[in-house]
Amino acid sequence: MTDEMIMEAVKNGDLQQASLLFERYNKRIYNFLARMTMDRALAEDLTQNVFLRIIKYRNSYREGLRFQSWIYQVARNIFSDHYQMHKNRFSDFVDVEKISEHITERNESEALEEQEKLLERSMAMLSQEQRELLVLTRFQHMKYEDVAVIMDTTVANIKVKVHRAIAKLREHYFELEKI
């Protein structure tokens, strides 16, 4: 059964089906929000909110819209709502030095941990839009077409922006590596 069919069923009152959508999407949405917020606990709360909102506002799901696009749009809205509510943009308060401690677990190999820390810190230095583009296209391997729908822009625009974001990430990564 496709995500869309399940969502239609949920919309028509078969709420139990929502647990299927949760199974399919909770990790992806959680990962997206964790990479965006750089805060696992917060990401978990926001992920919960995404699913609550999807169930509460099930009637606003438009038939024919890809469920994946919809749930990511909801996740983006929840993310920006959270930061607007706290009157802070991510870059204003994230302590880059502490990010990796937030997001990585301890029982990992040293080298991998170092590389990952570096990556996280470089990601944190990007603009919110660049970070989002990389999370969607590179971390979550989403097609440019799908990202274009979610971000409400053209595929060509997405492609150019993703390339620039990678270039920027490379800069930050190797600047930090030198330190």
Binding site: L15, S19, K27, E44, E116
Partner: protein, 263 residues
């Protein structure tokens, strides 16, 4: 494609696609040639490869079990809430509510119509009654007019048009029949009374009148009426009139023919 004439930004875009394996064969060969002869480009390429591989190797983050637990709890509450809603909807579908509303409307309308119709009828009855009372008052007034026989006649004519006569009217007519100084009025009164002869009290009055009436014209009319009414109980009274020496001959003849018919 001349890679040398390209700015570093454009070259970097091309290198990303090269790492991603998205270039055509011709583009790929040109990029590889450039990497061999351009040391700076090679360095950028190496860095890009490391960053992209770092992303690819970045582990998937796992949410805690709390996330699913909380979601399941929320879903259970939401299902419960929606079932409650559904219950009210299922046991009281909008259709039934509409039907009930329509039924109430019809019943209400019916009652309203019935009441208004009843009111209407009562109002009309009241108007008619008022008219009748007015007519009766006028009629009695006319019949009581001592100065004008024609007015009294007019009153009696009004009584003739009435469907039924109450005690008051009968009494007034009897008085006119027995006591009015004018023969025409007395005859008109008898005529009016004969119209109501089927009513018991009128019948009695007429029977009594036969023995007391002294006006020959009225006596004859009365006898004719009794014959018409087939009133056999008046036989004795008729016999008295026949035997009475004071009775006029025309009256006696009428009484005699009446006796022949009735006895």
């Amino acid at each position: 494609m001349n890679l040398l004439s390209m700015d570093s930004e454009k070259l970097e875009m091309l290198l990303i696609d090269y790492i991603d394996g998205k270039l055509t064969e011709a583009e790929r060969q040109q990029v590889e040639q450039e990497l061999v002869r351009n040391e700076k480009a090679f360095r950028v390429y190496e860095q890009l490869k490391e960053v992209i591989h770092a992303i690819d190797k970045a582990k998937k983050l796992e949410p805690s079990h709390e996330l699913k637990k909380q979601f399941d709890e929320f879903l259970a509450t939401e299902i419960k809430a929606s079932k409650k809603e559904a219950k009210t909807i299922h046991f009281q579908p909008a259709f039934y509510r509409v039907a009930a509303a329509v039924a109430l409307l019809i019943i209400g309308g019916g009652i309203g119509f019935w009441i208004s119709k009843n009111n209407d009828q009562q109002q009309r009855l009241a108007v008619i009654e008022a008219e009748l009372r007015a007519t009766k008052t006028t009629m009695m007034g006319l019949m009581d007019n001592q100065q004008s026989a024609s007015q009294r006649l007019q009153g009696i004519n009004v009584a003739l048009t009435m469907g039924s006569a109450d005690d008051e009217v009968v009494k007034a007519l009897v008085k006119r029949m027995n006591e009015d100084p004018n023969t025409n009025v007395r005859l008109a009164a008898l005529d009016a009374l004969s119209k109501f002869h089927t009513e018991p009290q009128v019948r009695k009055v007429l029977l009594d009148a036969l023995s007391t009436q002294k006006d020959p014209m009225v006596q004859i009319a009365l006898i004719q009426l009794m014959v018409k009414m087939k009133e056999k109980s008046v036989v004795n009274d008729l016999q008295k009139i026949v035997d009475d020496s004071e009775s006029m001959k025309a009256v006696k003849d009428e009484a005699y023919s009446g006796l022949l018919i009735l006895s």
